[in-house]
């Protein structure tokens, strides 16, 4: 049986699972972006906070995902919630790190001129530092998104009804077939690729001035 016909035949279950998958990813990335940006700004300002937060977030990445989701399910119950929380924790490192590096890379002459012209610290951040760090921040979001799309499949182990389910079922049964596994894997890869392409487009539009500046 070809993989295409399998997916089409089982679209009744696979379709909603794909939607749930996208929802989980979207929610965790939205939260991770918000939290990561704020932490990243503080990390850019303080060397000590930077060391601390990067240490914590990279340690989080070393925890195996099924263990993390399992632990979190004790707190927030089974289903999607532990997966969303866990994915937020995984996504933080690239977002925080890229935000901090992006802001630090802004030419001090540019921020100096901004302050010298009477911008408040918030205005310097919003009008100068953030726009100039945007390409780097988007880079972090891309990395995190691709990673989260893949790891979300492990969420099936704690009851998330996403594209991890067909994979988990196939692996759990002796009668499971490669086609069943691929029926989960291929849509996941497509979602990851699409998300990455969209974010790359956003990154390109936000790179106004900065990319050329780097060359000139």
């Amino acid at each position: 049986m070809s993989i295409i016909t399998y997916i089409v035949d089982n679209w009744g279950t696979l379709g909603p699972q794909a939607v749930t998958h996208i929802e989980i990813v979207a929610m965790s990335m939205a939260a991770a972006a918000l939290i990561g940006l704020i932490l990243g700004v503080f990390a850019a300002r303080s060397e000590r906070f930077s060391t601390l937060i990067l240490g914590v977030t990279s340690t989080l990445l070393t925890v195996p995902s099924f263990a993390l989701f399992g632990l979190l399910s004790i707190w927030v119950g089974l289903g999607n919630p532990p997966v969303i929380v866990g994915l937020v924790l995984y996504a933080l490192l690239p977002v925080v790190r890229n935000t901090a590096t992006g802001i630090r890379a802004v030419d001090p002459a540019v921020t100096g001129a901004a302050r010298g012209m009477g911008m408040s610290p918030i205005q310097v951040l919003a009008r100068v530092e953030m726009p100039l760090a945007a390409p780097a921040i988007l880079g972090g979001l891309r990395q995190a998104t691709v990673m989260v799309v893949a790891i979300a499949t492990v969420g099936a182990t704690v009851g998330a009804d996403d594209l991890g389910q067909p994979i988990l079922e196939a692996l759990g049964r002796s009668s499971g077939t490669l086609v069943q596994v691929l029926a989960g894997v291929i849509p996941v890869a497509l979602i990851g690729l699409t998300a990455d392409l969209i974010l790359a487009g956003v990154q390109r539009t936000l790179s106004r001035g900065t990319a050329r500046e780097a060359v000139g």
Partner: protein, 312 residues
Amino acid sequence: MITFDRVSKLYGRVTAVGDLSLEIASGEIVVLAGPSGCGKTTSLTMINRLVEPSSGTISIDGRDTAGMDVNALRRSIGYVIQQVGLFPHQTVAENIATVPRLAGWNRRRIAARVEELLEMVGLPPVEYGRRLPAELSGGERQRVGVARALGADPEILLMDEPFGAIDPVVRVRLQNELLRLQKVLHKTIVFVTHDIDEAVRIGDRVALLSQGGVLEQYARPVELLAHPASPFVAQFLGEGRMVRRLALLSVRDAHLAEPNGSGLPAETVGADASLRDALDAVLRAESGRVTVRDADTVLGVIDSESIREASR
């Protein structure tokens, strides 16, 4: 008027500026000059409080700046730096609009102001307004930096080695443009440079600082070159002071001899020439005498003796 009253700035135990007292008159260009690390930038940036003094007061028209709202103070003072610091993600027009925007001007007024400023610094608005800083030459960027600093028409302009990174030819052109603008604008300009030639060219007065922000001499350029107050000043001014000073004096400053019966010398200089140009002409002339002309009118004859007298 900007007044420094016994201003010091210490970094730990290093004195960047020590006990500086200085009066900068409104409408003048005052150049802070001196060797690298002598405290020029520190002195300059204490005016817009990017650096806060450790002691002493700086006042503008009698008002102590320490009591003012710091962002309002900065918006009322134009600021240009050597690295220019244009916002790379904004167009030339957006860059120039920075301070008017912060001050809450409406769109129409900002657009009109941006256009006016671009014209003023010699960059046609239609051609340059929409470019990004990366699409400009160094000299053009510097002009945009000046236009941006003039955004909300501040009374005071602070310039920290604004032409430092520009090649000598363009640099002289930008200096002349600044002098031309100043004739119209009458701003109070504090200009930092470590290039003494630039200092005497553009300054109405020069404040010469030595290590630790010590004021060695504060004088008009002609005075500085003629009478250095200390060996440090003399050394910083370098060789050929009196000859270089001639460049700052005009032929009009000299006493011209009446054209006598023996006929006018063939060599001529214009009435707006400097004494340096006149001396050059005198040295070239067979007779050692040169006719000074203002268009078609003969003003008189100049020779080495009258140049020498005028330069004393």
